[in-house]
Symmetry: C2
Subunit: 341 residues, 2 copies
Amino acid sequence: MMVLVDAMGGDNAPAAIVKGCVDALNTEDDFSVTLIGDRPSIEKVLVNEKYDKNRLFIRHTSEVITNDDSPTKAIRSKPDSSLVVGFNMLKEKEGDVFISAGSSGALLAASVMILKRIKGVERPAVGSVIPTKKGKLLLLDSGLNHTCRSSHYVQFGYLGAAYMKSAFGVENPRVGLINIGTEDEKGTDVVREANVMLRESRLNYVGNIESRDLFDGITDIAVTDGFTGNVVLKLIEGASSFFVGELKSLLFANLKSKMAALMLKKGLDGFKRKIDADVNGGAPILGIDGLVIKSHGSSKARTIKYVVLKAKVLAASSFIEDLKHDFLTVPKENPSENAEA
Amino acid sequence: MMVLVDAMGGDNAPAAIVKGCVDALNTEDDFSVTLIGDRPSIEKVLVNEKYDKNRLFIRHTSEVITNDDSPTKAIRSKPDSSLVVGFNMLKEKEGDVFISAGSSGALLAASVMILKRIKGVERPAVGSVIPTKKGKLLLLDSGLNHTCRSSHYVQFGYLGAAYMKSAFGVENPRVGLINIGTEDEKGTDVVREANVMLRESRLNYVGNIESRDLFDGITDIAVTDGFTGNVVLKLIEGASSFFVGELKSLLFANLKSKMAALMLKKGLDGFKRKIDADVNGGAPILGIDGLVIKSHGSSKARTIKYVVLKAKVLAASSFIEDLKHDFLTVPKENPSENAEA
């Protein structure tokens, strides 16, 4: 099992990326890692780390794609970038899964340009795991397809269901459709149509769900278009940061509140664990013929460690094969479209 | 100054509605209230209340529109409902502002059917006030127009700006456009076009804003389509309830945590005040020729009290006249559309 990691992507690269991989290697032993990026920079970090040298490899690259690059252009003009090399290694089966905390745009463009879609998939989607009262749910599409046709929502349901099964062991995951009311007549024409199509699908569809109920744990998967999904994802980040910020400032206001904070330590730690995004294993890019995981741009070593460990689980599963099988019979709006991909 | 109130709308009607109006009358004395609804039910609540009888009137009605009614049909088939009577009284200048916690759908339908749009307004919108780190912002459209053309976003900006000025005294309010990135090339075609049009407008436009930054207080107004706005609004409700629920259960977990909660009382009260939706004065329906405020379906007496007091401020301002003046020169995509309204 070989996990390919873009050592140069993200705000804290390469140090956090390299350290995260070392931590993952030291936690479980049934896999290897290839760090892709500038060898001297990577070695500079590794010199201070302890790890099994037989399980960590470096693939030197000379270029880096940044957030300022135009994604499509960068993929063509920077063939020796860590991102492009990573995708090509995955395609050539030199690794089982590829992880990057780099430019989302480039990552998504490369997914479609280099790896291609699974036969039957109209639109690949990004999934994001968000915390709920009872566990977690996968939100998709969380940013790739700004506008969607009704059949895309159904496809997102199948993509999400396969992921929740392979990554988290959720059997027959419940799928909800984000809408502005639970009644069938709510929403735009496209969303109303998607609701009907989802009900007719083989998915474990629970119906329309309102965003206020996302945290209640009534679904394992919430499907929506990439514009709404991205707004939802970032709003949850913003709301978390708002509430946690307010909580911190009230706990650290004075000596008395600091004492109270100490008394609450156990409960606060539990809450922190509940909303800890690091442990969720990153955002999978679903619907392409290969396992690619996007980690947050601000990923720390701890984030990367968990992404690597989750990626390995996914790579050991029959995830891609299951999807290929599923999509032989998943309804498409325009069956001929896939021929062009 | 006469405030018209639908006594029959909302989950807690008529008791909470009537009590809220009495509380408002007992707080400030420069206005009167007409309660519209079933006289016996209203009088049954009033019998236990103390208030200035010269400032509270009842207009008896025999019908009620519920959430189960089809909005447009209900307005036609229930002419003696509290909602329809309220709108007609407002139209006939028997009052200065109308408040209802009843069915959103019926309220919005009646706004357009009975009151008509202000000349130049393509689409009326609902505004909702949400808390930020530094105060509050108005989110619109928060549910009325599922899909929008680019000119609508600009119009929402003008509607929101007039409201923030009249209701909260914000001069030259900052307007942001909810998008999935701050860069000009982000978003759907319609949103990208709206960004350009907003920049060219007379509004104090700050550019695209991401949902994660909504709480930072960088804008006074956030414009978006009614689908996204409704998802944002309900997600904030859901996130608040999630965080407050988690906080409560950690504070009331055991004796030690309860002691800590007591020590934090002052800070917790401040936080509660910050996210207190009751004091924000309800959701105005903007762009129609009359002042209509929607209060939450689950409004309590306290909510209604603040909605009445804010409505009175708005009614005393030149809000509608300002809007009529603004919209003489606000750009429209299709100038002829307004002739049909």
